[in-house]
């Protein structure tokens, strides 16, 4: 009996052997990696060949200022958006139909339309309300392209951040609220001491993504004549017709985004140590 079974077993087709040597995938993979290396080396070679000390001395300081403008713009917008997102998230979660509908419409509008269109709407459209703005003394504020960008970006990111906040708070189980209530904590205490610490762990990654999206999105202010990193790049290119201006900007943006991404991952590893088993 066992001999027959062994006989059957030997007739069964064996699974394919694990490939050794140079299977097709490995050849393709090495070819692609070599292409990337050639591409990156090509860019490095181009930057060395196209190196122009005079040009660098003239424009490098403005790149640094441009980077500062980008970071300032993003920092202010993110902070203002975070402040603004709290009442929006609250309204979105409220049982009042009218209030939650209003918050939903706000979020839907700002998430459903391009940031560029919103920025144009503020920057060019605000001129239509000049008499009214003059009356309340805000015209001076909106005359600056930088302020218009901050206004539009803050409203935009507030919508996204409100959704992040709402999602994070709703991800905390109801039992946590009930447990806190049974211990006699009132709502605000519960929120501050029990719900938020748990919600922010969930929210960390989306918040990091939102900051990265803002940094990338902030490049569009170059179109409305703000001299951020992208604006300086455009200006340099239009003056010198030297393509390396774009390559430098790309390198700077890549470094910022990658640094941020790794920082968020590091923080996430640190604050979830107690959850790992």
């Amino acid at each position: 009996m066992s001999a027959a079974a062994a006989d059957v077993a030997t007739k069964v087709e064996k699974p394919p052997a694990i490939p050794h040597g140079w299977p097709r995938q490995r050849i393709l993979g090495y070819a692609l990696v070599c292409m990337w290396i050639a591409f990156l080396a090509g860019i490095a070679a181009y930057l060395i060949v196209a190196w122009n000390g005079e040009l660098f001395a003239k424009y490098a300081p403005s790149y640094v200022t441009g980077l500062g403008v980008t970071l300032l713009l993003v920092a202010i917008s993110i902070v203002l958006g975070a402040i603004l997102s709290v009442p929006i998230a609250y309204a979105r979660m409220s049982k009042n139909r009218f209030l939650s509908g209003l918050a939903y419409a706000y979020v839907y509008f700002f998430r459903g339309t391009p940031l560029l269109a919103q920025t144009f709407l503020v920057y060019y459209g605000v001129g239509s309300f000049r008499p009214q703005l003059d009356m309340i003394g805000l015209w001076g504020f909106f005359r600056e392209a930088f302020n218009c960008a901050i206004f539009a970006f803050s409203l935009n990111t507030a919508a996204y951040q409100a959704e992040i906040l709402r999602g994070a708070i709703e991800s905390v189980p109801r039992g946590q609220w009930e447990g806190a209530a049974s211990l006699g904590l009132h709502k605000l205490q519960t929120m501050w001491k029990i719900i938020l610490p748990q919600a922010l762990i969930v929210a960390l990654r989306p918040y990091g993504n939102e900051i990265i999206l803002m940094i990338k999105g902030s490049a569009i202010v170059a179109i409305i004549t703000v001299y951020d990193l992208m604006g300086i790049t455009k200006l340099t290119y239009s003056r010198t017709f030297d393509f390396q201006s774009y390559v430098w900007a790309a390198i700077i943006y890549l470094i910022i985004v990658e640094t941020l991404r790794h920082a968020v991952e590091w923080i996430e590893r640190r604050i979830t140590i107690h959850l790992q088993r």
Partner: protein
């Protein structure tokens, strides 16, 4: 002072026909980018889930670069870079050659690579959600690798990846607004021209924003229909 309704009418007096042309450009750009981005994204995802470390590395470099660059910068680099590159190549044969790169094609490529780098992540997580037993099952009934992919894995993959891809489509629709910066006459550019001529900037940019909103709403109806259709298939199985 013309009335708002005259400005928004169809014909030589109003601007509705110009804006409608912009809508046509925006929608066709997004529709042309989608298949390009999906195909590249799928191939990159295949590379990133392969057992071969070199293929994974190549895929990850692609994603890192195109996810880290601002979309506008990618667009400019491709638009101006392609122009300079092709011009240099043409100069080898004909020193007087002047090349003009098509803004539509540049926009398609730039938005396509950005879309594909995000889509590859969506596909990758969908690949990870499919158990290994599915591949082994495909092998055990005698399907080839390609047949397993086409008949067993892909139908499940699409169902899992659909919500993520739908989200990317909405982002793509919004990102097409950037091509107005390289001179393509999309919704935003037409609205900008109208605003400059008529001095009714708030009106026209507001209309442009509402059109984008409308496109997003129409898209979500379409996405819901697709999801329902795909879900029904699952029930029949």
């Amino acid at each position: 002072m013309q009335s708002v309704w005259t400005l928004l009418s169809w014909g030589p007096e109003g601007w509705l026909d110009d804006i409608a042309y912009g809508v046509f450009i925006t929608v066709s750009l997004a529709a042309a980018t989608l298949p390009l981005g999906l195909v590249i994204g799928f191939l990159v995802a295949l590379a990133k889930q392969s057992n071969e470390p070199s293929l994974r590395l190549a895929g990850n470099i692609y994603t890192t670069i195109f996810r880290g660059l601002p979309e506008l910068l990618t667009l400019f680099i491709i638009f101006y870079g392609a122009q300079i590159g092709i011009q240099q190549l043409m100069r080898l044969y004909d020193p007087t050659a002047a090349v003009e790169v098509n803004a539509f094609v540049s926009g398609m490529i730039a938005l396509g690579v950005v879309f594909s780098s995000y889509a590859s992540e969506v596909f990758l997580s969908a690949f990870r959600a499919i158990p290994k037993g599915q591949y082994e099952g495909g092998y055990s009934v005698g399907l080839s690798g390609w047949q397993t992919m086409r008949l067993v894995v892909l139908p499940q993959l699409i169902r899992i990846a659909l919500p993520g891809l739908a989200n990317l489509w909405l982002i793509l629709l919004k990102d097409t607004a950037l091509v107005s910066a390289i001179g393509l006459t999309d919704i935003l550019r037409q609205a900008g021209v109208a605003a400059r001529v008529t001095k009714h900037a708030f009106l026209f940019f507001g209309v442009a924003a509402l059109i984008y909103l409308l496109l997003a709403i129409i898209s979500s109806f379409g996405i819901n229909a697709i999801e329902r259709a795909v879900g029904r298939q699952q029930v029949q199985r």
